[in-house]
Symmetry: C2
Subunit: 362 residues, 2 copies
């Protein structure tokens, strides 16, 4: 990388199957963007890697336009303003928005899909938290739990993807509301973390052969709220244990996303009739619809953190050149908590966290 | 049948596959029930045949206990009180309730799953209407449209099973609210009826090879409300055309019911992630939860009938001995409108309707 180049990932081909290849998403070195009046130049510091990145690459009817072939990959990130020709941003400001998968982005409200927001100064928490528990994944958890799931004391809430960025916060919010909370995750170590560190009442490893019996035993009174991040057979078993009037927070279906663009790689959802039988509700929602709710949600989560009732973990991958691998890791379930790629250290702001997971480029 | 015998269907075996066999549901002749204090003897006049009868026979976690093996088949019917030892019923009263699939039932609030209700006298409509448009299927349509779907002028509502008892009323209620209403049914003749007699804007025959393109053309602005009676591939295609904030009234999934008790005979529901993508809601409901809403719903539907804005059709099968065949006909889609079995003529009340469909026992 030269002083004045911009590395960026461009979408060359819509991925098929489980693994995103270099031929799909290609890291190239281009010239630095220039800044016109009304714009600011943002240097990406941290890039958020999210399950939803996968459907963004697919030519499907999603909740947002698919990334165009040839375009820079869409991504949420935190950056530092390095040059500003707009009144509301100044060099050194830390901003949150659609940086894309690249070293440098241009903040321009007329062009960006989401306006960049300037983070508070001084920062009340580590920078990376604003991509996770105090960012879009935390707010996602909050909206799903507080607006849709609404678990009450005496009720049982199940969280799939319990060790992930959204599930980990959602379960703790359920505990804070007084519900019994049972997680589902993909390894014994994740389950240990979910119970011991996050305080869930139980956590089932869905790779255990007898996981369905374990889940039944952990939900003896049935399931009132399903905070659903996974879909597929895990969701089917949950649907079969719904109680009367259950609420299914349809937040994600990561187990089905790799199917986009491919011949159907899964068997479909079989137990939907249980939603009828148990007079249940499934509701889908997207956090990006609710920018107005961020202050309320972040305030609530930060408050619980301050009381020692909510914590989070991150998996930080070092280097933009490892972002594609990081997304593949996420789909293999190798992260615990929020998956973040560290792109650069700030010049004028506090240091970004160091990598906690070493990644060998593959 | 002797003077003092009671013919009844007993569930001998849980049906497997599409067709309910005589070995599953067996018509036997037994002694007449006797009446204790607090009870009344009801002679069944009309028996309602509903898709939900099929899951009632399966050993699944339904919305009501499965019919026990050896027990009389559960069914909703209209009967005439022939002997009463309770103060609120008199010989000659017409009553509505869980008569079961039999000639004679005992009305006893301590035992019946649903208390029998005495119909108004004189009757404001033909007796059979109280099993259909002015009975549980009409109220089902009303609750789904008015409480969950809520189609507005300018919106598009799709109704699967559009020629059936519930779908036909639901679509007309949607029209009365000012929405564009598109039906889906299983024959050209049903589609003609749905458009010409019931006033839907369009109706697609899902047996046509190009039915998906036809549905796309008939819903150029997408789908805001899905009144879902069918499930399976029909529902999947609808899910792929949902608009932002769409409501799915999950009323029935008849295409999947024959799967109960069998190896999976269908491919599952593939497009559930569209509920997330389009921030949609799926809500299940059961009319039997809402006896308090019957007067309001029946009043609304009767009002539209009086204004000539709502009509209905029935398929009347003659003879209790043909009830099992009637249910099989329903699952083959051979009925139009409400499927009713005429069991007997009343002695003290107006005559039940004559059969409109001749059935040869198979």
């Amino acid at each position: 990388m030269t002083e004045h180049s911009n590395r960026c990932y461009r979408l060359r081909r819509r991925p098929q199957g489980a693994v995103i290849q270099e031929a799909d998403l290609d890291l190239v070195e281009e010239v630095m963007p220039t800044v016109d009046p009304g714009q600011a130049l943002i240097r990406t510091l941290l890039l958020s890697v999210d399950p939803t990145n996968r459907p963004w690459m697919a030519d499907i009817r999603g909740y947002i336009e698919p990334v165009a072939l040839g375009a820079v990959m869409r991504g949420i990130g935190i950056g530092e303003v390095v040059e500003s020709r707009r009144d509301d941003m100044h060099a050194g400001d830390l901003v949150y928005g659609f940086t894309g998968w690249q070293d440098y982005a241009v903040a321009d409200d007329a062009v960006n899909e989401l306006p960049f927001a300037v983070l508070p100064s001084p920062l009340p928490a580590p920078l990376s938290a604003f991509l996770g528990a105090l960012g879009h994944t935390g707010v996602t958890a909050y909206l799903g739990v507080e607006d849709i799931g609404k678990p009450e004391p005496g009720e049982t809430m199940v969280v799939s993807g319990a060790a992930g960025a959204v599930g980990s916060v959602a379960g703790q919010l359920g505990k804070a509301r007084g519900a019994r909370v049972v997680g589902i995750a993909g390894s014994d170590e994740k389950c240990r973390h979910v119970v011991e560190d996050l305080g869930f009442d139980a956590c089932i490893n869905h790779r255990d052969p007898d996981w369905t019996q374990q889940l039944d035993a952990a939900t003896p009174d049935g399931i009132d709220v399903d905070y659903e991040n996974v879909g597929g057979p895990v969701m089917d078993h949950i649907l079969g244990r719904l109680n009367f009037g259950a609420r299914i927070v349809l937040c994600g279906m990561i187990s089905t996303y790799a199917d986009y663009g491919s011949p159907r790689g899964w068997d479909g959802q079989f137990e939907l009739a249980q939603v009828l039988m148990q007079r249940a509700t499934i509701r889908g929602f997207i956090v990006l619809d609710h920018p107005d709710r961020f202050p309320e949600a972040v305030g609530h989560i930060a408050g619980l953190m301050g009381e020692g009732r909510l914590t989070y973990r991150e998996t930080i991958v070092d280097g933009l050149e490892n972002a594609r691998d990081a997304l593949n890791q996420l789909f293999r379930g190798e992260n615990t908590g929020k998956m973040v790629v560290k792109v650069a250290d700030p010049v004028n702001a506090p240091a970004a966290p160091r990598a906690t997971t070493a990644v060998a480029p593959t």
